[in-house]
Symmetry: C2
Subunit: 494 residues, 2 copies
């Protein structure tokens, strides 16, 4: 029998690790801080890739691939960038049996190496916009790592685009932010808040960083994706210029944006429970499992044959019906007699198969099956002829329900504060997200980080995607900025 999972109530962090390890999403590797993504985890990543890639392509962005190695001097061309990333870099000093003349860093992100190519490819306004994405591994040397959430090496996509001017680059930064938000909510069933990072939390080298922030079941925030307006910072460093209509050479305005395998950690911490993984159908690697429970059929070969035939018919009928869905589903018939039904049910709960169907000899007589939705756990009796439709509709419903459940959870744990006292009370007693009017005062940001380990997750945006401005006094300083204060969410985070 598998090990027990530590309950969330007892130790959330240990629960997370238990679920990831026991559902075989990932494992620790012999390389410090690096994980192995096992088939159950990689199947989720493939679903994420396939569906997000489709959305990225709809923005006319094309995939490409750039070198893993970056000459150390490239990193140094953008001052903030090198300061942010140099301490986290892995450095190749020797290769082919010799010491290298110039060391290479293993890419922590690719703005610099990609700009060296943009500078070569872009000559005129006709070459713009240029929109490139790559799916790649990156390395950031982390001291404290956690499976999926923070690992030395991780997989991600990084988009890099060039535009004629600041309006266009800002508009595209927002466009990708919205792509991420829609993807997180519709595909991952993770509700997110799309907002703007403060100066202290923005990407090293960006003018502005936008992000999507989710709330995990322990009420902490998880940054699930970022979209940066880079302005001309890297273009200036790499001389990425174009000849405009007016005959002037101008720097391109750039964006970059990424999500990573961290999303898999977010999926676990948003939906799973004390019995293991719960997955939104759109990203599950296996959607439906049909388990014949042989019982008295074990020795009655004629009965066993009928049971297996009926099981296979159901599998085929469900497959056919589920072609209606706009994603492909995987369905398995598990007739392995070496494993007991109880063991199988536990296993399929653990790995988060959305729908489990059992049928035994008696069900065969009564023309029904016993079906269980992973997130509800109540067994239901479903007539066989109704089963394919039921499965298909439940997959759709489960996807919605998980999103709504997570949204309700977040709403229940989001609070407003207008003074520091209120803020302090909420931080100590409630946790979760605390929304405050703020003057962006750096001193209080530092103090809050020290005292509560909480940071500003994001500045809230209005419908025009500009920071909401309010005339409420700052919750720490009491001041009101001339342009109004911003609304910001503070929270502990991953």
């Amino acid at each position: 029998m598998a090990d027990q999972i530590t309950p969330r109530e007892k130790d959330f962090s240990q629960w997370y690790q238990d679920v990831v390890i026991q559902s075989r999403l990932a494992d620790y590797s012999p390389v410090k801080g690096c994980m192995v993504i096992r088939p159950n985890g990689y199947a989720i990543w493939e679903r994420i890739q396939r569906q997000l890639d489709d959305e990225i392509k709809k923005t006319k962005t094309k995939n490409a691939y750039f070198p893993l190695f970056i000459p150390e001097s490239f990193l140094q061309k953008e001052a903030e960038h090198v300061e942010g990333f140099a301490p986290e870099c892995a450095v190749v000093t020797h290769a082919g049996g010799k010491k290298l003349e110039e060391p290479y860093v293993v890419r922590p992100t690719s703005e610099t190496i990609i700009n060296s190519m943009f500078a070569k490819w872009i000559q005129s306004y006709r070459d713009l916009p240029m929109k490139i994405n790559q799916w790649a591994n990156v390395v950031r040397w982390e001291m404290r790592t956690r499976l999926f959430l923070r690992t030395t090496e991780f997989l991600w996509q990084e988009g890099h685009t060039c535009h004629k001017n600041g309006e266009e680059s800002e508009a595209f930064t927002i466009e990708m932010l919205k792509v991420y938000q829609k993807f997180a909510e519709e595909v991952l069933a993770i509700p997110v808040i799309a907002g703007l990072k403060t100066e202290s939390e923005k990407f090293a080298g960006a003018l502005r960083t936008y992000c999507i922030e989710a709330m995990m079941q322990d009420k902490k925030a998880l940054q699930a994706g970022t979209s940066h307006n880079l302005s001309t910072h890297f273009a200036e460093a790499f001389e990425t210029k174009y000849l405009d209509h007016d005959g002037q050479e101008k720097f391109v305005h750039q964006t970059s944006w990424g999500v990573s395998t961290r999303l898999i950690g977010g999926l676990v911490m948003t939906h799973s429970d004390d019995r293991g993984l719960v997955l939104p159908p759109r990203v599950a690697g296996l959607h439906v499992v049909v388990v014949p429970v042989f019982g008295k059929a074990t020795k009655d070969l004629e009965l066993k044959k009928r049971l297996l035939e009926k099981s296979q018919q159901l599998v085929d009928a469900i497959k056919e019906e589920c072609k209606k869905l706009d994603y492909s589903i995987e369905i398995e018939l598990d007739a392995d007699e070496n494993k007991k039904p109880g063991w199988k049910f536990h296993e399929y709960e653990m790995i988060g198969v959305p729908i489990r169907i059992e049928l035994g000899p008696r069900d065969l007589d009564q023309d029904h099956v016993i079906a269980t939705r992973r997130d509800l756990s109540e067994k239901q009796t479903i007539k066989m002829d109704k089963l394919p439709r039921w499965v298909c509709s439940q997959l759709v419903q489960m996807q919605k329900d998980l999103l709504e459940k997570a949204r309700k959870f977040r709403e229940d744990h989001t609070h407003q504060a207008s003074s520091f006292e209120e803020f302090e009370g909420l931080m100590k007693d409630q946790g979760g997200f605390v929304e405050v009017p703020w003057s962006l005062d750096a001193e209080s940001e530092k103090k809050i980080k020290e005292r509560f380990k909480a940071t500003p997750r994001c500045i809230l945006l209005d419908e025009a995607n500009k920071p909401i401005r309010v005339q409420q006094p700052c919750f720490t300083t009491g001041k009101i900025l001339p342009e109004g204060n911003v609304k910001v969410i503070f929270s502990k985070s991953y």
Copy 2:
């Protein structure tokens, strides 16, 4: 206007480089020996990945992901392996601002790191077979590099499997060899010879290496994929053992197998011509382009509108019809008035769009279009109502024709020799593949390599996938081995 492509006859190597650069498949990067795969090249890789991945999954192999870094000591555990790969390794000595206690090599291949996990995951015969594949980047420090064919970093898939015994691992090695052969021929339209490598050419650490070998248009061989029977070599080094039915602990028997972005180079050198890329439809990123030729419609807005509407109708009808194909097609309507039709035709020839369709005002009146298949270059007049079917059938036909053309080319340049004199004559006058009866004599292998720069590409196999044995005297020594000589192909190669 784009630069000229050097004709193949004049300088094959320069022609190859011109085609790759001018069709924007790839570009040189500022990192020594590393290339950038541009969108046109990456679209081909995505098609390769998608279709090969489906075939790999049919063998019940699952995708996973293992760390980029390998502790140096791991590489040293298998004697032949370290000897083969250590000189090519890139080494990370510093990370996170500190010198590492043990250096990491950037994976040149992952047998060692994966075995460290297999040893943890495999306990009993119930865990076998275990079949894992990863799509990843690998690094081998190469002195002389060529775009796609030999680069310091490249993308590939590497499969790694564990089996109970040597029969099973041998059977699976062959199974994957056949998967590659079928894939190369049916998807890439590259005919290949599946054979066995000699001792001198096998993978460092393998018992046996099987390969698929293709002939390029310059008559040189390209190794397009390999499948290795690793026996227990790595299992012994990493203690990868299982408890068998009989209560005995036994080493697992392993395989590994891979193909890489080199296949894109193979595609270019097999099918392309002096006007640019020619791509088999199954791997083309863009299949059909419809170009309205405005002519007198440029200023007649009503006529222009009709021309554009008709073009769009044709695009839609072709899309609908091509849903019959078992791969998705991309089709573009290029109505850009800033570029001249002649420029566009040159461009679409260069980047290898399989089918180009033109229609102008006169064609509109006559209810037909002018269509050109990239590999044939003859313009054809096709009635509009027949066009969707014509396109669909021509895509199928072109795929077949390219394979047959390449097969005929290989057959025309494959010769038999029974003596060294014959062999020498063929090598000097003809080039191509020379098939000989051989006693596997290492001395003559060395001599031939020095004198003709040719190597044994592979030992031919019979229907049972064993080396063909013949009673013909060895072409160099005149001897006949007790078990018979083998049939082997010698050739210059990439």
